[in-house]
Symmetry: C2
Subunit: 305 residues, 2 copies
């Protein structure tokens, strides 16, 4: 099953040449999600050849414009392109007001249903779940209520070794083995460990949007395969990071190291940095397996034993 | 004095590859204006190297998203880039609600003043005026209240022929001649016609945003130097144009011909047309001096005698 994150925007606050505001497209198996939706997210989806129509859930981290001003336009285009599938939006309280005001005077009645859910911001909570994954909030520390999102595969099943199974085994017994249960067949016990391989590892992606550096994030993202963490500033602008409730590249590297994640992506770069390689180098001192989350890059989390 | 219109977007309703939603930048002398502000207008200004900061007035034709969803982001970027000059926005009633909702939850207090004026939609009215130009509304026929905008230079002054003036003429007399008044100097009458050339022609630009074809527009834009008229559809989709209150390229050409304008720009093209040359050809049958108003094109109205 695929587990891909495509970066639509790497820029903090304002666009700069070639850099767009925050948005990421997440594809897990045949499900598609969008995280944040800065202005011109629909243009970026178009540029990267990603269809709007397969996006089922949109997660908005907070109500600073660079993270949601693209939402009315995206919804409008879905409408004009005759979407009928419902759309689920998970965002901070107040997002409904913006959407209602945006469409009120155009007398637009969207021809698909939008379900809007307020993000809980105090504690981590599962806000979406299906048979394969959960999406949980990560409370963050910013100037307005803000959450990250943790995408995590559920515990997977034991993998049957077909040649070790007796023939004629009923389907229910087969499924019990996959769940890791011992069974009896024709009077003989079968231990699941003898006929299965352990489940593949459940993969996880944590998106940490705008936030002041905070140790409390470390436990929330502990051990994830891939961590996106904002890195608005270089550490030489630490004062500016503190005042604006943002993180430096060095601090993002520290979070990744302390949380023992596998890989770190940094993004949300201040327009003052023309050369992003210095941000990368700073984070890599703390955590070598770091990459820049820049426009058009796709990061895949590979399934492993 | 320059009188330039730069096209930021040529697309109707939704973006397509390389085509953006409606916005135009107008420069008259040292004053800068923006007409409409579809999503990603600020990106287009950035791409074309036009500074946001010199824009004094923004004119919004109507509250369909493709004409104003870029406004909150533009205002936000002006704020973050420390604008202090006031900004004047002329838009349909209700625009204030959208802007207030957009900024409410980010707790943003813009560090410059925004003056918001409701556009009159029933009759043409001057909504902005300085010593050189007026901007007047053009009532249009669309599904929601909608106006175009007519930029017109005021009557210019008579041009003094210096070698025909007696020396020692006081400044007040000089100015009277420029206004086309006869004077007396040292007991002798001076007829302004003997010492001046006629004023240069006052130039004019009419922007006709989304509208059903309507003969009432013709008198409003009669004789302008440059007319922008929407041409969402080819005439083979006339039914669609009628239902959606839009105009075909043929009809736009007819308006230009009947209004005896000098030059026609067509734009706001439906994404269904990959090849815009067919829209151009259709309009040119009716009015040969037609051009496509596409991204990055700059149209200058030259000052003539």
């Amino acid at each position: 099953m695929s587990f891909d994150i495509t970066i639509l925007g790497s820029s903090a606050a304002i666009p700069s040449k070639g850099r767009h505001m925050t948005s990421q497209h997440v594809r897990i198996g045949n499900q598609q999600f969008l995280i944040d939706c800065g202005e011109a997210t629909q243009h970026q989806l178009l540029n990267l050849g990603i269809s709007l129509h397969k996006i089922e859930h949109i997660f908005i981290s907070h109500l600073h414009g660079d993270h949601f001003f693209g939402l009315p336009g995206l919804l409008s285009t879905m409408h004009l392109q005759r979407r009928t599938e419902p759309l689920y939006i998970h965002g901070p309280r107040g997002l409904d007001e913006v959407l209602l005001a945006s469409f009120k005077h155009s007398k637009t009645e969207l021809n698909y249903k939008v379900f809007l859910y307020d993000n809980p911001t105090m504690f981590p909570e599962v806000i979406y779940e299906n048979d394969k994954i959960t999406v949980e909030t990560i409370p963050l520390t910013h100037r307005v209520p803000c959450t990250g999102f943790l995408f995590r595969e559920k515990q997977k099943q034991y993998r049957i070794i077909p040649e070790k199974l007796p023939s004629g085994l009923p389907f229910e017994a087969f499924r019990a083995l996959k769940r890791g249960e011992n069974i009896e067949f024709e009077g003989k016990p079968i231990n699941y460990q003898d006929v299965t391989l352990p489940p593949r590892k459940s993969r996880s992606y944590a998106f940490c949007s705008d936030t002041k550096y905070s140790k409390s994030v470390i436990s929330k993202v502990y051990g994830v395969d891939l961590l996106y963490h904002e890195s608005t500033f270089m550490n030489r602008h630490l004062d500016r990071a503190n005042v604006t409730f943002h993180t430096t590249a060095k601090q993002a590297g520290e979070v990744a190291r302390e949380a023992k994640v596998n890989e770190l992506l940094i993004g949300h770069f201040s327009a003052r940095y023309a050369d992003l390689s210095e941000l990368l180098a700073e984070a890599q001192v703390e955590f070598p397996n770091t990459q820049l989350a820049i426009e058009g890059e796709k990061f895949s989390i590979i399934e492993t034993d």
